[in-house]
Protein backbone atom coordinates (compact mmCIF):
# COMPACT_ATOMS: atom_id res chain seq x y z
CA UNK A 1 0.00 0.00 0.00
CA UNK A 2 2.99 2.22 0.35
CA UNK A 3 2.93 4.31 -2.80
CA UNK A 4 6.13 6.31 -2.91
CA UNK A 5 8.55 5.17 -5.56
CA UNK A 6 11.57 7.27 -4.56
CA UNK A 7 14.31 6.13 -2.16
CA UNK A 8 12.86 6.13 1.31
CA UNK A 9 14.60 8.93 3.17
CA UNK A 10 12.03 8.56 5.96
CA UNK A 11 13.21 5.03 6.87
CA UNK A 12 16.32 6.14 8.76
CA UNK A 13 14.29 8.71 10.68
CA UNK A 14 11.67 6.10 11.59
CA UNK A 15 14.36 3.63 12.65
CA UNK A 16 15.90 6.29 14.92
CA UNK A 17 12.56 6.65 16.74
CA UNK A 18 12.17 2.93 17.55
CA UNK A 19 13.61 1.43 20.73
CA UNK A 20 15.61 -1.80 20.33
CA UNK A 21 13.70 -5.05 20.84
CA UNK A 22 10.29 -3.38 20.51
CA UNK A 23 7.15 -5.03 19.14
CA UNK A 24 6.43 -3.27 15.86
CA UNK A 25 3.55 -3.42 13.39
CA UNK A 26 4.21 -1.83 9.99
CA UNK A 27 0.92 -0.97 8.30
CA UNK A 28 1.41 -0.72 4.55
CA UNK A 29 4.82 -2.37 4.71
CA UNK A 30 5.34 -2.68 0.95
CA UNK A 31 7.98 -5.28 0.14
CA UNK A 32 9.16 -5.34 3.76
CA UNK A 33 12.24 -3.12 3.38
CA UNK A 34 11.60 -1.05 6.52
CA UNK A 35 10.68 -4.10 8.61
CA UNK A 36 13.85 -5.85 7.53
CA UNK A 37 15.87 -2.73 8.39
CA UNK A 38 14.25 -2.59 11.84
CA UNK A 39 14.86 -6.30 12.45
CA UNK A 40 18.50 -6.03 11.43
CA UNK A 41 19.36 -2.77 13.19
CA UNK A 42 16.92 -2.70 16.12
CA UNK A 43 16.22 -6.40 16.64
CA UNK A 44 12.49 -5.70 16.76
CA UNK A 45 9.72 -8.30 16.86
CA UNK A 46 8.21 -7.09 13.60
CA UNK A 47 4.90 -7.76 11.84
CA UNK A 48 3.47 -6.24 8.72
CA UNK A 49 0.22 -5.65 6.86
CA UNK A 50 0.27 -4.90 3.16
CA UNK A 51 -2.50 -4.37 0.63
CA UNK A 52 -0.72 -5.59 -2.49
CA UNK A 53 -0.31 -9.34 -2.77
CA UNK A 54 3.01 -8.85 -4.55
CA UNK A 55 4.38 -6.90 -1.59
CA UNK A 56 3.12 -9.54 0.85
CA UNK A 57 4.68 -12.42 -1.05
CA UNK A 58 8.01 -10.60 -1.36
CA UNK A 59 7.97 -9.80 2.36
CA UNK A 60 7.22 -13.41 3.35
CA UNK A 61 9.95 -14.66 1.02
CA UNK A 62 12.29 -12.36 3.00
CA UNK A 63 11.22 -14.25 6.11
CA UNK A 64 9.01 -11.49 7.54
CA UNK A 65 5.66 -12.00 9.30
CA UNK A 66 3.42 -10.16 6.89
CA UNK A 67 -0.22 -10.63 5.97
CA UNK A 68 -2.39 -9.24 3.23
CA UNK A 69 -4.74 -6.62 4.58
CA UNK A 70 -6.20 -3.14 4.29
CA UNK A 71 -5.39 -0.36 6.76
CA UNK A 72 -8.97 0.90 6.50
CA UNK A 73 -10.75 -2.37 7.21
CA UNK A 74 -8.39 -4.85 8.86
CA UNK A 75 -6.85 -3.02 11.82
CA UNK A 76 -9.91 -3.92 13.88
CA UNK A 77 -8.66 -7.52 14.09
CA UNK A 78 -5.69 -6.46 16.22
CA UNK A 79 -5.95 -6.46 20.01
CA UNK A 80 -5.53 -3.28 22.10
CA UNK A 81 -1.94 -2.30 22.88
CA UNK A 82 -0.51 -5.41 21.23
CA UNK A 83 2.47 -3.43 19.93
CA UNK A 84 4.94 -0.86 21.21
CA UNK A 85 4.93 0.97 17.88
CA UNK A 86 2.58 0.93 14.93
CA UNK A 87 4.18 2.45 11.84
CA UNK A 88 2.32 4.02 8.95
CA UNK A 89 4.93 5.15 6.48
CA UNK A 90 3.84 7.01 3.33
CA UNK A 91 0.44 5.35 3.54
CA UNK A 92 -1.82 7.78 5.42
CA UNK A 93 -2.63 9.77 2.29
CA UNK A 94 -3.81 6.59 0.53
CA UNK A 95 -6.35 5.55 3.19
CA UNK A 96 -10.07 6.20 2.81
CA UNK A 97 -10.52 7.34 6.40
CA UNK A 98 -7.21 8.73 7.72
CA UNK A 99 -8.67 9.91 11.02
CA UNK A 100 -10.10 6.50 11.80
CA UNK A 101 -6.85 4.80 10.78
CA UNK A 102 -4.85 7.11 13.05
CA UNK A 103 -7.20 6.39 15.95
CA UNK A 104 -6.79 2.65 15.34
CA UNK A 105 -2.98 2.98 15.27
CA UNK A 106 -3.03 4.43 18.76
CA UNK A 107 -5.40 1.76 20.01
CA UNK A 108 -3.18 -1.07 18.73
CA UNK A 109 0.14 0.54 19.61
CA UNK A 110 1.45 2.40 22.64
CA UNK A 111 2.93 4.79 20.10
CA UNK A 112 2.40 5.48 16.44
CA UNK A 113 4.96 6.63 13.89
CA UNK A 114 3.44 8.31 10.86
CA UNK A 115 5.35 9.58 7.85
CA UNK A 116 3.72 11.36 4.94
CA UNK A 117 4.51 13.67 2.02
CA UNK A 118 3.73 17.29 2.90
CA UNK A 119 1.33 18.82 0.43
CA UNK A 120 2.11 22.23 1.92
CA UNK A 121 5.68 22.16 0.59
CA UNK A 122 6.48 25.33 -1.36
CA UNK A 123 6.95 23.45 -4.64
CA UNK A 124 3.43 22.04 -4.41
CA UNK A 125 2.08 25.49 -3.69
CA UNK A 126 4.13 27.02 -6.52
CA UNK A 127 3.09 24.32 -8.97
CA UNK A 128 -0.58 24.87 -8.31
CA UNK A 129 -0.19 28.65 -8.30
CA UNK A 130 1.84 28.88 -11.49
CA UNK A 131 0.43 26.03 -13.57
CA UNK A 132 -3.08 25.94 -12.20
CA UNK A 133 -2.96 22.15 -12.26
CA UNK A 134 -2.67 19.43 -9.62
CA UNK A 135 1.06 19.07 -8.92
CA UNK A 136 2.91 16.12 -10.43
CA UNK A 137 6.43 15.88 -8.99
CA UNK A 138 9.30 13.43 -9.01
CA UNK A 139 8.32 12.24 -5.53
CA UNK A 140 4.58 12.12 -6.29
CA UNK A 141 4.46 11.21 -9.97
CA UNK A 142 0.74 10.43 -10.29
CA UNK A 143 -1.89 12.42 -12.19
CA UNK A 144 -4.98 13.40 -10.24
CA UNK A 145 -7.13 10.72 -11.91
CA UNK A 146 -4.90 7.70 -11.28
CA UNK A 147 -3.32 8.53 -7.95
CA UNK A 148 -3.68 6.16 -5.02
CA UNK A 149 -3.13 9.22 -2.83
CA UNK A 150 -6.68 10.28 -2.18
CA UNK A 151 -6.19 12.18 1.08
CA UNK A 152 -3.24 14.52 0.87
CA UNK A 153 -2.63 16.79 3.82
CA UNK A 154 -0.13 19.37 4.91
CA UNK A 155 1.92 19.28 8.11
CA UNK A 156 -0.40 21.89 9.61
CA UNK A 157 -3.48 19.82 8.68
CA UNK A 158 -1.92 16.77 10.30
CA UNK A 159 -1.09 18.63 13.50
CA UNK A 160 -4.73 19.74 13.70
CA UNK A 161 -5.93 16.16 13.34
CA UNK A 162 -3.66 14.88 16.12
CA UNK A 163 -5.35 17.44 18.39
CA UNK A 164 -8.80 16.31 17.28
CA UNK A 165 -8.16 12.70 18.23
CA UNK A 166 -6.34 13.67 21.42
CA UNK A 167 -2.93 12.34 20.38
CA UNK A 168 0.26 13.81 21.82
CA UNK A 169 3.10 14.70 19.48
CA UNK A 170 6.20 13.26 21.14
CA UNK A 171 8.65 13.97 18.31
CA UNK A 172 8.26 15.53 14.89
CA UNK A 173 10.84 15.55 12.11
CA UNK A 174 10.55 17.37 8.81
CA UNK A 175 12.86 16.54 5.92
CA UNK A 176 13.65 18.99 3.17
CA UNK A 177 13.92 18.14 -0.51
CA UNK A 178 17.43 16.76 0.08
CA UNK A 179 16.30 14.43 2.85
CA UNK A 180 17.95 16.64 5.51
CA UNK A 181 16.29 17.38 8.83
CA UNK A 182 14.89 20.86 9.26
CA UNK A 183 15.93 22.61 12.48
CA UNK A 184 13.71 21.68 15.40
CA UNK A 185 13.37 25.26 16.67
CA UNK A 186 11.62 26.42 13.51
CA UNK A 187 7.88 27.18 13.77
CA UNK A 188 5.23 24.81 12.19
CA UNK A 189 4.63 27.34 9.42
CA UNK A 190 8.27 27.13 8.36
CA UNK A 191 8.16 23.33 8.40
CA UNK A 192 4.96 23.37 6.43
CA UNK A 193 6.63 25.42 3.71
CA UNK A 194 10.02 23.70 3.51
CA UNK A 195 9.36 20.17 4.76
CA UNK A 196 8.88 17.82 1.85
CA UNK A 197 8.23 14.90 4.16
CA UNK A 198 7.23 14.69 7.79
CA UNK A 199 7.66 11.96 10.38
CA UNK A 200 5.63 12.15 13.60
CA UNK A 201 5.99 10.05 16.73
CA UNK A 202 2.62 10.12 18.50
CA UNK A 203 1.34 8.70 21.76
CA UNK A 204 -2.09 8.42 23.26
Amino acid sequence: MSVNTTPRVDFDVIASLVNPGARVLDVGCGDGELLELLQNTKNVDGRGVELSQKGVNESVARGLSVIQGDADSDLKYYPDAGFDYVILSQTLQATRNPKNVLTELLRIGEKAIVSFPNFGHWRMRASLLVNGRMPVTEELPYSWYDTPNIHFCTISDFVDMTKEIGAQVETAVALNAFGQRIGFNMPWGFWNLFGQQAVFLLRR
Binding site: Q53, A61, G63, L64, Y77
Partner: protein, 395 residues
Amino acid sequence: MTKFSKPSAGIDQKSQEATNPHSPVVDFGVDKPLHLDSGVSLSPFRIAYQSYGELNADKSNAILICHALTGDQHVANVHPVTGKNGWWETLVGPGKPIDTDRFFVLCSNVLGGCLGSTGPASINPETGKPWALDLSIITIADMVRAQAMLIDHFGIKQLFAVVGGSMGGMQVLEWASSHSDRVFAAVAIATGARHSSQNIAFHEVGRQAVMADPEWKEGRYLEEGTVPRKGLSVARMAAHITYLSETALHRKFGRNLQDRQNVTFGFDADFQIESYLRHQGMSFVDRFDPNSYLYMTRAMDYFDLAAEHQGRLADAFAGSRTRFCIVSFTSDWLFPTSESRTVAHALNAAGASVSFVEIETDRGHDAFLLDEPEMFSAINGFIRSAARARGLLQP
Protein backbone atom coordinates in the same frame (compact mmCIF):
# COMPACT_ATOMS: atom_id res chain seq x y z
CA MET B 1 15.83 -42.23 0.64
CA THR B 2 13.85 -45.47 0.77
CA LYS B 3 13.54 -47.33 -2.52
CA PHE B 4 11.11 -50.12 -3.19
CA SER B 5 11.30 -52.93 -5.69
CA LYS B 6 9.05 -52.29 -8.66
CA PRO B 7 5.57 -52.76 -7.27
CA SER B 8 2.72 -54.54 -8.96
CA ALA B 9 -0.23 -52.23 -8.60
CA GLY B 10 -3.45 -53.82 -7.50
CA ILE B 11 -5.88 -54.63 -4.77
CA ASP B 12 -3.68 -57.33 -3.18
CA GLN B 13 -0.80 -54.92 -2.89
CA LYS B 14 -3.15 -52.41 -1.31
CA SER B 15 -4.43 -54.76 1.43
CA GLN B 16 -0.84 -55.81 1.99
CA GLU B 17 0.13 -52.19 2.72
CA ALA B 18 -2.74 -51.82 5.20
CA THR B 19 -1.70 -54.75 7.37
CA ASN B 20 1.96 -55.30 6.57
CA PRO B 21 3.36 -52.08 5.15
CA HIS B 22 6.72 -51.37 3.55
CA SER B 23 7.07 -48.43 5.95
CA PRO B 24 8.58 -48.74 9.44
CA VAL B 25 5.91 -48.94 12.15
CA VAL B 26 5.60 -48.16 15.84
CA ASP B 27 3.22 -50.40 17.80
CA PHE B 28 1.65 -48.78 20.85
CA GLY B 29 0.71 -51.53 23.29
CA VAL B 30 -1.98 -51.79 25.93
CA ASP B 31 0.17 -49.66 28.24
CA LYS B 32 -0.16 -46.72 25.83
CA PRO B 33 -3.83 -46.37 24.87
CA LEU B 34 -5.05 -43.55 22.66
CA HIS B 35 -8.05 -41.69 24.11
CA LEU B 36 -10.21 -40.76 21.17
CA ASP B 37 -12.66 -37.82 21.00
CA SER B 38 -15.48 -40.37 20.65
CA GLY B 39 -14.77 -41.50 24.23
CA VAL B 40 -13.33 -44.82 23.07
CA SER B 41 -9.87 -45.86 24.22
CA LEU B 42 -8.01 -47.38 21.27
CA SER B 43 -5.45 -49.99 22.24
CA PRO B 44 -3.30 -51.46 20.88
CA PHE B 45 -2.72 -49.41 17.75
CA ARG B 46 -0.04 -48.93 15.11
CA ILE B 47 1.45 -45.95 13.30
CA ALA B 48 3.38 -46.37 10.03
CA TYR B 49 5.74 -43.61 8.96
CA GLN B 50 8.50 -42.54 6.59
CA SER B 51 11.45 -40.36 7.56
CA TYR B 52 14.12 -38.48 5.65
CA GLY B 53 17.33 -36.81 6.84
CA GLU B 54 18.96 -37.08 10.26
CA LEU B 55 17.66 -36.05 13.68
CA ASN B 56 20.29 -33.75 15.25
CA ALA B 57 21.80 -34.27 18.72
CA ASP B 58 19.35 -32.04 20.61
CA LYS B 59 16.44 -33.26 18.48
CA SER B 60 15.49 -29.72 17.48
CA ASN B 61 15.43 -30.10 13.70
CA ALA B 62 12.35 -32.28 13.19
CA ILE B 63 9.69 -31.30 10.68
CA LEU B 64 6.41 -33.21 10.70
CA ILE B 65 4.54 -33.35 7.39
CA CYS B 66 0.79 -33.96 7.69
CA HIS B 67 -0.75 -35.58 4.65
CA ALA B 68 -4.11 -34.83 3.04
CA LEU B 69 -7.32 -36.89 2.75
CA THR B 70 -6.10 -39.40 0.20
CA GLY B 71 -2.39 -38.84 0.76
CA ASP B 72 -0.04 -41.00 2.76
CA GLN B 73 3.39 -41.09 4.39
CA HIS B 74 5.27 -41.55 1.10
CA VAL B 75 6.19 -37.87 0.81
CA ALA B 76 9.51 -38.15 -0.95
CA ASN B 77 10.01 -41.77 -1.97
CA VAL B 78 8.59 -44.02 -4.67
CA HIS B 79 5.11 -45.19 -3.67
CA PRO B 80 4.99 -48.93 -2.84
CA VAL B 81 1.62 -49.44 -4.57
CA THR B 82 1.53 -47.00 -7.48
CA GLY B 83 5.26 -46.86 -8.25
CA LYS B 84 4.95 -43.07 -8.59
CA ASN B 85 7.27 -40.47 -7.06
CA GLY B 86 6.53 -39.10 -3.60
CA TRP B 87 3.59 -36.68 -3.53
CA TRP B 88 5.58 -33.70 -2.23
CA GLU B 89 9.00 -34.24 -3.81
CA THR B 90 8.70 -30.72 -5.24
CA LEU B 91 8.88 -29.31 -1.71
CA VAL B 92 10.72 -31.95 0.32
CA GLY B 93 14.19 -33.27 -0.46
CA PRO B 94 17.88 -32.35 -0.51
CA GLY B 95 18.21 -28.61 -1.23
CA LYS B 96 14.44 -28.16 -1.45
CA PRO B 97 12.51 -25.60 0.70
CA ILE B 98 12.06 -28.40 3.25
CA ASP B 99 15.68 -29.45 3.04
CA THR B 100 16.31 -33.04 4.08
CA ASP B 101 20.05 -32.28 4.27
CA ARG B 102 19.23 -29.94 7.13
CA PHE B 103 16.04 -31.23 8.71
CA PHE B 104 14.75 -34.56 9.97
CA VAL B 105 11.48 -34.89 8.07
CA LEU B 106 8.83 -37.24 9.36
CA CYS B 107 5.44 -38.17 7.92
CA SER B 108 3.12 -40.74 9.40
CA ASN B 109 0.09 -42.36 7.84
CA VAL B 110 -2.83 -40.82 9.74
CA LEU B 111 -4.86 -42.83 12.20
CA GLY B 112 -7.78 -44.27 10.22
CA GLY B 113 -5.65 -44.43 7.07
CA CYS B 114 -4.90 -47.48 4.96
CA LEU B 115 -1.12 -47.46 4.42
CA GLY B 116 -0.11 -49.21 7.63
CA SER B 117 -1.45 -47.13 10.52
CA THR B 118 -4.46 -48.51 12.39
CA GLY B 119 -7.55 -47.98 10.26
CA PRO B 120 -10.72 -49.79 9.19
CA ALA B 121 -8.71 -52.21 7.00
CA SER B 122 -6.47 -53.22 9.94
CA ILE B 123 -7.22 -56.35 11.93
CA ASN B 124 -9.29 -55.90 15.08
CA PRO B 125 -7.32 -57.92 17.66
CA GLU B 126 -10.53 -58.91 19.45
CA THR B 127 -12.14 -60.58 16.44
CA GLY B 128 -9.20 -61.39 14.20
CA LYS B 129 -11.15 -59.72 11.36
CA PRO B 130 -10.79 -56.28 9.75
CA TRP B 131 -12.17 -53.48 11.91
CA ALA B 132 -14.42 -52.17 9.11
CA LEU B 133 -17.04 -49.89 10.69
CA ASP B 134 -16.40 -51.26 14.19
CA LEU B 135 -13.49 -48.86 14.46
CA SER B 136 -14.43 -45.74 16.39
CA ILE B 137 -14.85 -42.50 14.43
CA ILE B 138 -11.49 -40.75 14.22
CA THR B 139 -11.13 -36.96 14.44
CA ILE B 140 -8.39 -34.58 13.31
CA ALA B 141 -7.46 -34.13 16.99
CA ASP B 142 -7.17 -37.94 17.35
CA MET B 143 -4.80 -38.07 14.37
CA VAL B 144 -2.70 -35.37 16.01
CA ARG B 145 -2.67 -37.19 19.38
CA ALA B 146 -1.35 -40.29 17.62
CA GLN B 147 1.32 -38.17 15.90
CA ALA B 148 2.28 -36.66 19.26
CA MET B 149 2.79 -40.18 20.63
CA LEU B 150 5.01 -40.96 17.64
CA ILE B 151 7.02 -37.80 18.36
CA ASP B 152 7.36 -38.96 21.99
CA HIS B 153 8.62 -42.29 20.70
CA PHE B 154 11.42 -40.43 18.90
CA GLY B 155 12.15 -38.41 22.05
CA ILE B 156 11.34 -35.14 20.27
CA LYS B 157 10.08 -32.52 22.73
CA GLN B 158 9.34 -29.78 20.23
CA LEU B 159 8.89 -30.01 16.47
CA PHE B 160 10.76 -27.33 14.56
CA ALA B 161 7.83 -27.22 12.14
CA VAL B 162 4.55 -28.88 11.28
CA VAL B 163 3.59 -28.54 7.62
CA GLY B 164 0.53 -29.68 5.68
CA GLY B 165 -2.09 -28.86 3.07
CA SER B 166 -5.85 -29.39 3.04
CA MET B 167 -6.66 -32.07 5.67
CA GLY B 168 -2.94 -31.89 6.50
CA GLY B 169 -3.40 -28.17 7.14
CA MET B 170 -6.24 -28.95 9.55
CA GLN B 171 -3.81 -31.16 11.48
CA VAL B 172 -1.27 -28.31 11.47
CA LEU B 173 -3.83 -25.93 13.01
CA GLU B 174 -4.86 -28.58 15.54
CA TRP B 175 -1.20 -29.15 16.49
CA ALA B 176 -0.64 -25.41 16.94
CA SER B 177 -3.80 -25.09 18.99
CA SER B 178 -3.70 -28.10 21.30
CA HIS B 179 0.08 -28.76 21.45
CA SER B 180 1.21 -25.17 21.04
CA ASP B 181 4.43 -25.50 23.06
CA ARG B 182 5.53 -28.44 20.90
CA VAL B 183 5.36 -26.49 17.62
CA PHE B 184 7.98 -23.82 16.84
CA ALA B 185 6.63 -23.04 13.37
CA ALA B 186 3.47 -24.02 11.53
CA VAL B 187 2.73 -23.97 7.79
CA ALA B 188 -0.95 -24.47 6.91
CA ILE B 189 -1.71 -24.53 3.18
CA ALA B 190 -5.07 -24.47 1.36
CA THR B 191 -6.99 -25.23 4.49
CA GLY B 192 -9.42 -23.82 7.03
CA ALA B 193 -10.27 -23.94 10.72
CA ARG B 194 -13.50 -25.75 9.89
CA HIS B 195 -15.11 -27.74 7.13
CA SER B 196 -17.78 -25.69 5.35
CA SER B 197 -21.31 -26.88 4.70
CA GLN B 198 -20.55 -27.21 0.99
CA ASN B 199 -17.49 -29.34 1.76
CA ILE B 200 -19.51 -31.62 4.05
CA ALA B 201 -22.08 -31.89 1.25
CA PHE B 202 -19.49 -33.11 -1.26
CA HIS B 203 -18.14 -35.62 1.26
CA GLU B 204 -21.62 -36.94 1.91
CA VAL B 205 -22.11 -37.55 -1.82
CA GLY B 206 -18.88 -39.54 -1.83
CA ARG B 207 -19.80 -41.61 1.20
CA GLN B 208 -23.27 -42.38 -0.14
CA ALA B 209 -21.71 -43.52 -3.42
CA VAL B 210 -19.46 -45.97 -1.55
CA MET B 211 -22.24 -47.26 0.68
CA ALA B 212 -24.72 -47.60 -2.20
CA ASP B 213 -22.40 -50.05 -3.96
CA PRO B 214 -23.73 -53.59 -3.30
CA GLU B 215 -20.11 -54.78 -3.18
CA TRP B 216 -19.57 -52.65 -0.08
CA LYS B 217 -21.37 -55.35 1.99
CA GLU B 218 -22.08 -53.05 4.96
CA GLY B 219 -18.35 -52.42 5.15
CA ARG B 220 -17.37 -56.12 5.32
CA TYR B 221 -16.08 -56.34 1.72
CA LEU B 222 -12.59 -57.51 2.78
CA GLU B 223 -14.04 -60.67 4.39
CA GLU B 224 -16.50 -61.15 1.52
CA GLY B 225 -13.75 -60.85 -1.04
CA THR B 226 -15.48 -58.03 -2.92
CA VAL B 227 -14.47 -54.46 -3.77
CA PRO B 228 -16.96 -51.55 -3.93
CA ARG B 229 -15.07 -50.40 -6.98
CA LYS B 230 -17.82 -48.37 -8.61
CA GLY B 231 -18.86 -46.62 -5.41
CA LEU B 232 -15.38 -45.49 -4.42
CA SER B 233 -14.62 -44.59 -7.99
CA VAL B 234 -17.66 -42.30 -8.25
CA ALA B 235 -16.76 -40.76 -4.88
CA ARG B 236 -13.30 -39.96 -6.18
CA MET B 237 -14.65 -38.56 -9.45
CA ALA B 238 -16.94 -36.13 -7.64
CA ALA B 239 -14.22 -35.13 -5.18
CA HIS B 240 -11.64 -34.68 -7.91
CA ILE B 241 -13.74 -31.96 -9.55
CA THR B 242 -13.61 -29.98 -6.31
CA TYR B 243 -9.79 -30.10 -6.36
CA LEU B 244 -9.61 -28.31 -9.72
CA SER B 245 -10.96 -25.05 -11.09
CA GLU B 246 -13.31 -24.43 -13.96
CA THR B 247 -10.60 -22.48 -15.79
CA ALA B 248 -8.02 -25.24 -15.40
CA LEU B 249 -10.50 -27.95 -16.46
CA HIS B 250 -11.49 -26.00 -19.52
CA ARG B 251 -7.91 -25.23 -20.44
CA LYS B 252 -6.91 -28.88 -20.14
CA PHE B 253 -9.91 -30.60 -21.67
CA GLY B 254 -12.27 -28.04 -23.14
CA ARG B 255 -15.06 -29.91 -24.93
CA ASN B 256 -12.52 -32.16 -26.64
CA LEU B 257 -13.68 -35.63 -27.60
CA GLN B 258 -11.83 -38.77 -26.52
CA ASP B 259 -10.32 -40.70 -29.45
CA ARG B 260 -13.26 -39.96 -31.72
CA GLN B 261 -14.40 -37.44 -34.27
CA ASN B 262 -18.05 -37.15 -33.25
CA VAL B 263 -20.25 -37.77 -30.24
CA THR B 264 -21.64 -41.32 -30.22
CA PHE B 265 -25.20 -40.60 -29.12
CA GLY B 266 -24.62 -42.93 -26.20
CA PHE B 267 -23.19 -42.90 -22.70
CA ASP B 268 -19.61 -43.84 -23.41
CA ALA B 269 -16.90 -41.46 -22.31
CA ASP B 270 -17.25 -39.24 -25.37
CA PHE B 271 -15.50 -36.29 -23.77
CA GLN B 272 -11.90 -36.24 -22.61
CA ILE B 273 -12.97 -34.94 -19.21
CA GLU B 274 -15.20 -38.01 -18.73
CA SER B 275 -12.40 -40.35 -19.66
CA TYR B 276 -10.02 -38.48 -17.35
CA LEU B 277 -12.38 -38.64 -14.38
CA ARG B 278 -13.09 -42.35 -14.94
CA HIS B 279 -9.35 -43.00 -14.96
CA GLN B 280 -8.91 -40.97 -11.77
CA GLY B 281 -11.72 -42.94 -10.12
CA MET B 282 -10.48 -46.40 -11.11
CA SER B 283 -6.83 -45.80 -10.28
CA PHE B 284 -7.85 -44.46 -6.87
CA VAL B 285 -9.58 -47.79 -6.06
CA ASP B 286 -6.27 -49.57 -6.65
CA ARG B 287 -4.54 -47.66 -3.87
CA PHE B 288 -7.18 -46.61 -1.34
CA ASP B 289 -9.44 -48.46 1.09
CA PRO B 290 -13.16 -47.56 0.71
CA ASN B 291 -13.89 -47.61 4.45
CA SER B 292 -10.81 -45.50 5.11
CA TYR B 293 -12.30 -42.95 2.70
CA LEU B 294 -15.43 -42.84 4.88
CA TYR B 295 -13.38 -42.30 8.04
CA MET B 296 -11.10 -39.63 6.54
CA THR B 297 -13.97 -37.59 5.10
CA ARG B 298 -15.82 -37.78 8.43
CA ALA B 299 -12.75 -36.55 10.31
CA MET B 300 -12.63 -33.46 8.09
CA ASP B 301 -16.39 -32.86 8.42
CA TYR B 302 -16.18 -32.88 12.21
CA PHE B 303 -13.28 -30.40 12.31
CA ASP B 304 -14.26 -27.02 13.74
CA LEU B 305 -11.51 -25.42 15.78
CA ALA B 306 -13.57 -22.40 16.87
CA ALA B 307 -16.38 -24.61 18.17
CA GLU B 308 -13.92 -26.17 20.63
CA HIS B 309 -13.38 -22.65 22.01
CA GLN B 310 -16.93 -21.34 22.43
CA GLY B 311 -16.97 -20.09 18.86
CA ARG B 312 -13.96 -17.78 19.26
CA LEU B 313 -11.24 -18.96 16.90
CA ALA B 314 -8.71 -16.51 18.38
CA ASP B 315 -9.00 -18.37 21.70
CA ALA B 316 -7.76 -21.53 19.96
CA PHE B 317 -4.41 -19.75 19.61
CA ALA B 318 -4.36 -17.66 22.79
CA GLY B 319 -0.84 -17.06 24.05
CA SER B 320 0.67 -18.94 21.12
CA ARG B 321 4.39 -18.42 20.54
CA THR B 322 4.33 -20.45 17.34
CA ARG B 323 5.23 -18.69 14.07
CA PHE B 324 2.57 -19.26 11.46
CA CYS B 325 2.64 -19.26 7.69
CA ILE B 326 -0.76 -19.46 6.01
CA VAL B 327 -0.98 -20.07 2.26
CA SER B 328 -4.06 -19.97 0.02
CA PHE B 329 -4.70 -20.06 -3.72
CA THR B 330 -6.88 -17.64 -5.69
CA SER B 331 -8.75 -20.36 -7.61
CA ASP B 332 -9.27 -22.77 -4.69
CA TRP B 333 -13.02 -22.97 -4.14
CA LEU B 334 -12.85 -25.93 -1.74
CA PHE B 335 -10.83 -23.95 0.81
CA PRO B 336 -11.12 -20.42 -0.54
CA THR B 337 -8.84 -17.60 0.60
CA SER B 338 -11.59 -16.32 2.92
CA GLU B 339 -11.09 -19.43 5.11
CA SER B 340 -7.37 -18.74 5.37
CA ARG B 341 -7.99 -15.05 6.04
CA THR B 342 -10.28 -15.99 8.93
CA VAL B 343 -7.43 -18.00 10.43
CA ALA B 344 -4.95 -15.15 9.85
CA HIS B 345 -7.27 -12.63 11.52
CA ALA B 346 -7.78 -14.94 14.49
CA LEU B 347 -4.01 -15.32 14.82
CA ASN B 348 -3.67 -11.51 14.70
CA ALA B 349 -6.28 -11.16 17.40
CA ALA B 350 -4.37 -13.70 19.49
CA GLY B 351 -1.20 -11.66 19.00
CA ALA B 352 0.53 -14.54 17.21
CA SER B 353 3.23 -14.11 14.59
CA VAL B 354 1.66 -14.80 11.21
CA SER B 355 2.57 -14.62 7.54
CA PHE B 356 -0.26 -15.01 5.08
CA VAL B 357 0.22 -15.28 1.34
CA GLU B 358 -2.35 -15.81 -1.36
CA ILE B 359 -0.87 -17.35 -4.48
CA GLU B 360 -2.26 -16.36 -7.87
CA THR B 361 -2.99 -19.54 -9.82
CA ASP B 362 -5.87 -21.06 -11.79
CA ARG B 363 -5.05 -24.63 -10.72
CA GLY B 364 -7.54 -24.79 -7.85
CA HIS B 365 -7.16 -26.63 -4.55
CA ASP B 366 -4.64 -29.14 -5.92
CA ALA B 367 -2.18 -26.28 -6.51
CA PHE B 368 -0.60 -27.10 -3.13
CA LEU B 369 0.69 -30.37 -4.61
CA LEU B 370 1.99 -28.78 -7.80
CA ASP B 371 4.98 -26.78 -8.92
CA GLU B 372 4.06 -23.30 -7.68
CA PRO B 373 7.27 -21.23 -7.52
CA GLU B 374 5.69 -18.41 -5.51
CA MET B 375 4.48 -20.88 -2.88
CA PHE B 376 7.97 -22.42 -2.72
CA SER B 377 9.65 -19.03 -2.27
CA ALA B 378 7.21 -18.04 0.49
CA ILE B 379 7.67 -21.34 2.34
CA ASN B 380 11.42 -21.23 1.79
CA GLY B 381 11.64 -17.68 3.20
CA PHE B 382 9.45 -18.60 6.15
CA ILE B 383 11.33 -21.82 6.99
CA ARG B 384 14.74 -20.16 6.72
CA SER B 385 13.70 -17.25 8.90
CA ALA B 386 12.23 -19.63 11.51
CA ALA B 387 15.37 -21.80 11.35
CA ARG B 388 17.52 -18.74 12.10
CA ALA B 389 15.29 -17.86 15.04
CA ARG B 390 15.55 -21.45 16.30
CA GLY B 391 19.34 -21.42 15.93
CA LEU B 392 19.31 -24.07 13.20
CA LEU B 393 20.73 -21.69 10.59
CA GLN B 394 23.45 -19.07 10.93
CA PRO B 395 22.00 -15.54 10.75
